[in-house]
Symmetry: C2
Subunit: 245 residues, 2 copies
């Protein structure tokens, strides 16, 4: 059996997220059916990240197995010919049979874009969170220190239906860039629990707008101060930029 | 009577262009009805440019008259509250009564973006023309010389239903930027006839892909070589960036 690795980009606006669900349009559903149409056999598609509804990707990674001997370059062209406009396969590569998109991921890069201008821009509105209130960027940068390194995010856990979720995660870097009208937050980490990136952004914004104080963050993270828990940032500002192997 | 000047941004994707037409969604239609809803009287809306269906704007300029004494800042907020997500008013300003968006424009800046990568990007596909064939950028730069200055564009005239259209136009600058995957073409000119910017882009691309030779350009422009006439570039790569007064 051949193992095929795909790198995928999509505009999450019109998808109910990555994961296949009955009767709704999902990214995995579109890709699986495109592959099956071309290869004429059923496949099982595994991905690095189950991005939520509305979340975008420039470098989602997925894999599947096939006995078909189609050349990688031909499959790439065929897939982009069949797929709808809001999803594109950027690369197709044959990898060793033990490759696994989820388990072998060494890390992920997520980017969250916050538009700070007084008026939203109709041309990029689907790819940023328009946040037209005052933010103290220095406070946000200070708050990132609490979220970097080996951190127990127990207080940010959201019930995903799974039990015994590991809440201790490795966040290697959070980079804040203040670029004209945009605040760009790049988060690099080994792995993330359900909605963790958007929960981290929500917490950073709460630090920046004064809703919470920096010294409250450890209590919020530990879950000891549930009534100070912050909001989850909206999905459309988030993009999965790259998965590292 | 007060004269009010608006600067407007829009995502042209879901509009049948600027100009009001019966039974279709147009930018002017949305703005006129938003203003009339707020000011409770009929208005006449004049704009600098009648952008085509699918063309975007960051700095379209329009004006209208009113007797209402509403403050500019309040009208700005009210308009953005009423307008749909794909159009935004960026500024509202009271100007002198003899201001006219069309006649007093000293020039316009249009930007056309061509995506040159082998695979299109689902996140920006609505704002560029994905042109994945080989282009000789040097040839395009050479071709811009024929389109700059005082130029008779008779050969690029498209029947707009108007007669006696002035085909001699002043193009002050065409700037080509090759930015990673994108070829960005910035065109600055006093005024443009119907679909002229997209016709100019079509001609530049034909020079870049070898469909026409540089020495053919004068004949094409003069209309003496109609069978070498080039295509009009698609609308979604075009944005009206700014109107100068």
């Amino acid at each position: 059996m051949r193992k095929i690795k795909l790198i995928i980009a999509y505009d999450g606006t019109d998808f109910h997220g990555w994961q296949i669900q009955p009767e709704v349009r999902t990214v995995a559903g579109e890709i699986k059916s495109a592959i099956e149409k071309i290869l004429r056999h059923e496949i099982h598609l595994t991905a690095a990240s189950r991005t939520d509804a509305g979340v975008h990707a420039l470098g989602q990674t997925a894999d599947f197995q096939t006995d078909n001997s189609i050349e990688a370059g031909k499959l790439l062209l065929a897939l982009n010919g069949v797929l709808p406009d809001d999803v594109a396969v950027k690369s197709v590569e044959e990898v060793s049979e033990d490759f696994h998109s989820t388990h072998q991921s060494k890390g992920k890069h997520y980017r969250y874009v916050i538009r700070l201008s007084g008026i939203d821009d109709p041309l990029s509105r689907k790819y940023h969170w328009w946040y037209h209130h005052k933010l103290d960027v220095e406070k946000i940068i200070d708050a990132t220190k609490f979220l970097t390194g080996t951190v127990d995010f127990k207080g940010l856990e959201i019930n995903s239906g799974k039990s015994d979720v590991e809440t201790v995660r490795e966040i290697s870097e959070i980079k804040i860039t203040n670029d004209a009208d945009d605040l760009i937050i790049d988060i690099f980490g080994k792995s993330f629990m359900y909605k963790l990136v958007r929960s981290m952004i929500g917490l950073l914004i709460a630090a920046g707008n004064g809703k919470i104080q920096l010294e409250e963050i450890p209590e919020i993270l530990s879950g000891k101060n549930e009534h100070r828990r912050t909001d989850v940032a909206p999905p459309h500002g988030l993009t999965l930029v790259e998965v590292f192997y």
